[in-house]
């Protein structure tokens, strides 16, 4: 599957099927710091992503000290 990552923007190829939490662990990402989006909707941690999916992992941490 294609996995879009941000900050910086880049794309990875990852073999499916794989559970969302396992994908985040593999990429070293904290589930509290990201949303996983497939077909413009949110995916929960226990969902299984398939090889043909396009997935975005969107960081949610933002902001300078304003």
């Amino acid at each position: 599957m294609k996995v879009l990552l941000r900050n910086p923007r880049r794309e990875l190829d990852v073999a499916g099927p794989i559970q969302v939490h396992a994908l985040l662990d593999r990429l070293g990402l904290n589930r509290e710091s990201v949303l996983v989006i497939r077909r413009e909707t949110l995916v929960t941690g226990d969902a299984t992503l398939q090889d043909e999916d396009d997935v975005e992992i969107r960081p949610v941490i933002s902001g300078g000290l304003a």
């Binding site: 909707t41 941490i61 300078g64 000290l65 304003a66």
Partner: protein, 289 residues
Amino acid sequence: MIEIRRHNAGFCRDCFLHHCRQQVRRTIDDFDMIDADQRVLVAVSGGKDSLALWDILLDLDVDASGLYLGLGIGDYSDESGRYAREFASSRGAPLTEIDLPADVGFDIPSGARRARRVPCSACGLSKRHLFNQAALDGGFDVVATGHNLDDEAAVLFGNVLHWSEEYLARQMPVLPASAGFARKVKPLVRLGERETAAYCVLRGIDYIVEECPMAAGNKHLWYKEALNVVERSSPGAKAAFYFGFLDRARERFACAEGPAAGLASCSRCGAPTTGEVCAFCRLVERATT
């Protein structure tokens, strides 16, 4: 579906949107943030928090206008402004803009460099001053900002690490109006930024996802990452830390609060200041020469 582990709950789309609106309504009521007939100026950045806040306030029938401050940070500012305008247009809500380079005379990257300030510091000072001034000039009762639970917990974490007593005394989701200062409120403090991001995705609100290039490596982001490591193992830790401070500890620092009385007017802009010239006018002078 979205799972919010600190509530030990999963929500469908409609229930989650309802949850977000309820959390903001509860915060406004609990902290007496906004009266029914008051006009609110929302500080809009084009990011998820300020657009989610503006959207929720409008849905709660609050008279909320937006103010976008163009910071002159290249493509990042161009894109942020576009998202702010698109949202305002989609909701038919009034948006005012101030462009720092055109209207004040400097942009954040080069102005901060000339003034020998950290960019986030110059940016924060500019926002505080210009949003406050715009609220006073425009006759708004309240300035609302999109600071969320993660923002407030991270600031608290930094203030505790350094025992910054004066800042701890002022760390409230409401700062009352006083001479020269508009009332300031943070209605999103019961929502984490994962929730505000999810709110925007589920509402179809486009926002700038890319991080500000000036913020890379700042301490505030480190503190957020550190707290999320704790949160992952102990869901609810951030909320317990922040609201526990408000409930049990903040008043102990009240005596450290700076003197509200005794402020003079800036000789250049008239804003309240402890010196002859306010911090923002000093920044402008150094950033433009």
